[in-house]
């Protein structure tokens, strides 16, 4: 086939999809926790690329910033703090692998069958629509929707339906409070705690420790 017939949107979609899927499979098959963390970073970055290709530019940026930049750095610190000796590479028994493969394979078969069973989901045909991508920034509409206004549904004629499309202000507030509570709880859980057997550190340094260097007699 010639270069002119290549649909470049499809080309980059296939590139990102292949990257995401192979790295997700690599996360499953490797037993080394450090490599799993790296493969997960690449997979989630490729998913951000897929978000961009679907026209969700703000969401793709958030995926890169929050997920790859925040959550996975947190996860990498967890890996570094616990990756010691036998915990770096823990293998699973063969029976569990077989069971998981059977369940996962049947789940995948069902999902793939559903994905291709609806006519409206198969994408546009080239004859109807020229291969162009409508680039519309979504950061502004998303911000307005979080404040309680839906700029994309202003043409709704039915007043009863319009009342149900009143944005996401309440959800935004709930999720903000939820995030604060969760982070305070995480900090409480992860605080440094003394083991029961440990000696309490002296509050006042004893006179003998006050002068560690031997002074003249």
């Amino acid at each position: 086939m010639s270069v002119e017939t290549i649909h470049w949107h499809t080309f980059f979609f296939l590139l990102m999809a292949l990257l995401a899927c192979t790295m997700a499979v690599a996360v499953v098959v490797t037993s080394n926790i450090v490599r799993m963390a790296f493969y997960l970073v690449v997979s989630l970055g490729a998913v951000a690329g897929l978000f961009f290709l679907a026209g969700a530019d703000f969401l793709g940026a958030m995926q890169l910033m929050i997920y790859v930049g925040g959550t996975l750095v947190l996860l990498a610190f967890g890996v570094m703090l616990t990756a010691r000796g036998p915990f770096i590479s823990m293998r699973t028994g063969g029976g569990q692998w077989i069971l998981a493969a059977i369940i996962g394979g049947s789940l995948l078969a069902v999902l793939l069958q559903v994905a291709f069973s609806v006519k409206a989901w198969t994408g546009r045909s080239l004859a109807q629509h020229p291969p162009a991508i409508e680039a519309a920034p979504t950061a502004g509409p998303i911000g307005l929707a979080l404040l309680g206004v839906r700029p994309d549904r202003l043409d709704q004629q039915n007043a009863g339906l319009r009342r149900g499309m009143s944005g996401y202000l309440l959800v935004f507030e709930i999720i903000s409070v939820h995030l604060v509570v969760v982070l305070v709880g995480a900090a409480y859980l992860a605080r440094a705690r003394k083991r029961p057997g440990q000696q309490r550190a002296p509050a006042q340094p004893s006179p003998s420790r006050r002068s560690p260097l031997p002074v003249g007699e």
Binding site: T10, V28, V47, A54, A56, Q63, A115, W121, I175
Partner: protein, 114 residues
């Protein structure tokens, strides 16, 4: 090479989302490292997010229109935030478990077993 010259649709995104979801489920079921289970959860949430974004995009449809529009993207945004919160708490619990039991193997966390 027929695949390269047709526009992608929602179904293609659903396939990628299904693969990520199934990989996450297998990861959650088979990993013995507690952090590996967490990574499986991240994969599952990303597969779901990909489906939301695909259904929200009007340019992946055969007819255009009739898409979720902004709703799908905002729900995906909420899922990202909740995943961050969940990862923070789960990691704090894993650290606590590691400090108390000096292991990260989830099979040995059986103190509550009757």
């Amino acid at each position: 090479m027929e695949l390269l010259s047709i526009p992608v649709g929602v179904a293609h995104y659903l396939v990628v989302g299904a693969v990520l979801f199934v990989c996450g489920v297998i990861c959650m079921a088979t990993k013995r490292n507690g952090l590996g289970v967490l990574m499986g959860i991240e994969l599952v949430l990303n597969g779901a997010n990909l489906n939301f974004v695909a259904f929200a995009s009007p340019m992946l449809r055969a007819e255009g229109g009739n898409a979720l529009g902004l709703d799908g993207q905002i729900i995906a945004l909420f899922v990202i935030v909740l995943a961050a919160a969940e990862a923070a708490v789960a990691l704090a619990i894993a650290m606590n478990y590691y400090n108390n039991f000096v292991t990260i193997d989830v099979d040995r966390a059986d103190e509550l077993k009757g």
